[in-house]
Symmetry: C2
Subunit: 478 residues, 2 copies
Amino acid sequence: MPQTATVIGGSFTDADDRTARRFAESAHTYSTGVMPTAQFHAWLAERALSRRHRVDLIALDDLDGWSADPETGNLGHRSGRFYTIEGLEVVTGHRHNPTWSQPIILQPEIGILGILVKEFNGVLHCLMQAKMEPGNINGIQLSPTVQATPSNYTRVHQGNAIPYLEHFITAGRGRVVADTLQSEQGAWFLQKRNRNMIVEVTEDVPVLDGFCWLTVGQLHELLAVENLVNMDTRSVMSIIPLATPIDRPSLLDEDSFRGALLRSLSTRPDPNDATGNLVSWFTDVKSRRTLRRRPIPLHQTKGWLRTSDRIHHEDERYFSVVGVRVEADDREVTSWSQPMIAPASRGVLALLTRQVNGVLHALVQAHTQAGTFDVVEMAPTVQCSPENYDEGRPLFLDYVLSAPASQIRFDVVHSEEGGRFFQAENRCLIVEVDDAFPTDVPDGYAWATISQLTDLTRHGHYFNVEARCLLTCLHTLW
Amino acid sequence: MPQTATVIGGSFTDADDRTARRFAESAHTYSTGVMPTAQFHAWLAERALSRRHRVDLIALDDLDGWSADPETGNLGHRSGRFYTIEGLEVVTGHRHNPTWSQPIILQPEIGILGILVKEFNGVLHCLMQAKMEPGNINGIQLSPTVQATPSNYTRVHQGNAIPYLEHFITAGRGRVVADTLQSEQGAWFLQKRNRNMIVEVTEDVPVLDGFCWLTVGQLHELLAVENLVNMDTRSVMSIIPLATPIDRPSLLDEDSFRGALLRSLSTRPDPNDATGNLVSWFTDVKSRRTLRRRPIPLHQTKGWLRTSDRIHHEDERYFSVVGVRVEADDREVTSWSQPMIAPASRGVLALLTRQVNGVLHALVQAHTQAGTFDVVEMAPTVQCSPENYDEGRPLFLDYVLSAPASQIRFDVVHSEEGGRFFQAENRCLIVEVDDAFPTDVPDGYAWATISQLTDLTRHGHYFNVEARCLLTCLHTLW
């Protein structure tokens, strides 16, 4: 892997363009002998029945190993590791609500989210894991091959070794296909990011209990199922290199949403730097916006109340900090308790799209949240929890919620990372606007092609996790 | 400009590839009727003689409008604007010197460094300014068309309007060629970055007193002159899009350093994502390194002494904070005083290069300084002030300093931004290694092609300002 690649030069080049075409081929393959989708569902159901795990909400005061600092109220583990929940004061240039304070998770280390891929019968397959997380609504979801924090892999909690991790941290075990730092939920994490990786191997890989190989096409099918493909998987999938299927001209010529989508991808890799124009728009917004933050003691967060049970906002909006106790037999350790963030209501993530000269464009916004890594990141057109607003409802929210079925291309509920967030659901929508939709967009919004967006997923800190999730969902519409 | 570009799509594409070829043509043009280089030198000499400006070192206590906070010792202006000098405690994973504290400049706003370009006689010219900065060794240096902080252009100090600024902040006045946030000196600035912009206009532009049009080739010639082309110019020049001169096949076939350099540029725009491999190496290092910082009162910085005159390190190493008084007639205001950073000794910035199969590669390192925006940035092979070290001298420093003349391709002293740094010189070196140089490189170093490096200058926070400076110097060797 990278440490040993002393000359990072042209040697990989020919292979890489072919890689994007091979992933596109995998995205078009739904049926394979390795793990047919019907069999996958049976396998997953069987696992859900046979694995025992139990998650109970408990009082914060009853957490084992976690306690509030007497002086600050900050929540932390007695080992000093994992994460802490502290207070943050935020000052922005927002018109509505320019300044506030809130609890936020601090976890400064960079974890690895990695998908191992390998070719079977000429088609790339992804090694996926059926993984229990305490915040998952339905217990088990489909996660990347590896989800590991340095705390995990340096064995702070004395659990079992993380399977397959060696492919992502050991030199020379496979070929790195994609590898960038990507940010996590800015509403609840302070400047958290993880290393998103895709590594291809050719060697034999044993399939351990709880793992299976699926094509990208199968994953796309499964993204139509509620709360099944977890956030980490959706995040890593957003950095999969994909090329327009030039060997399928009929698809490209199609007068359809799908045709417009594939044509929108077709200038990647972009020889002409249209991406530079999107970067310039982003640079301009980032230069003009402000985000100033100051750590404060958790018990000084204004409007937030602490009981022995939980920490919540006086309006019962936004989110609470709750305690959970977990008993499981398929995790590194078999029982533990931890504080988690539980949102007060379901969110809406929506990407508006439109065809311009037969090429699909998506409307992104430059968005700031408390924990945003660097002032702004590109977010979906709409990203909010509607119940948090009495007035000043976010732009385009009502347009999205009242869109007729004929304009809705994708509408599935997915949930956020179940390791930190308790039953945090978002309704994920992709909506094609009608002809009456205004061409001009407000300050801080821009229309971009899928090629431009895909180009920038190769770098960190352009897109927030919600935008990456919708980009992944968009590719299911091929 | 970007705000109004509601559809940021394919419309710019054809033009952009051509732009890189047009800049390459400008880089090959040294003689033009607009401002012949000999005439330029006469013009600059005349300006240096006729403009009056006087810079005096004064005691910090004698600064007008600036004072130390009685509680913290932090230096600030009575208006609360411009910048402050505060204390910073730094914890890194460095083997030598893992933790220290130091004074550092805080200036959270994002300024604009912009070069306006326009075609004359079929060749692109850059509008350059002969500008006095108090820290300049020789008074006047060549700066971009615009150097402006928001303090400047919102008129905090009640000076004159900044000429040409409207091209960089007003919609629709020109075509944005490049536009990214790039970081400044991490040794002395806390997470400072500026917006680096290149804007092309076709309309008539009046040439004001102190400005002149020069080709990229002329700027390359001037980079061979000590302390003439200022840091801001060198930074903006590093994001100029450049294409291999495919219309000059004899250059590309040359068995020379220049031929290897041009071949190294020739895969840009890179259709094969070799850049992805460099990004992966960078992601890996960034994930493994740590940089934790805490603001502290300036008077609590350990080892730093404050007198009425200045703030300096007890070993008289690193740098001092000094006061200067300026009287000038060619700045927005005609006299002022300000604190500045004065390095204790001259620095060395060196890029090692080697030919691999006839293609030039440069050795970059992942480097952390007190103020680095995000853990690490790519830096030159060597970046240090040798006199700061008794032991633990930086890797490759002695190799560079003892390289025979036959291996040295570039060796010119340039200085850092004269608005904040007082006579801060660096010896800028580009050295081709001999065949005996080891192929393996230490952890945190990587060989990269010029194409890979150029590809990443289109994004912020990959390269520190010293790396960008050497990349600009490298292009003078075409």
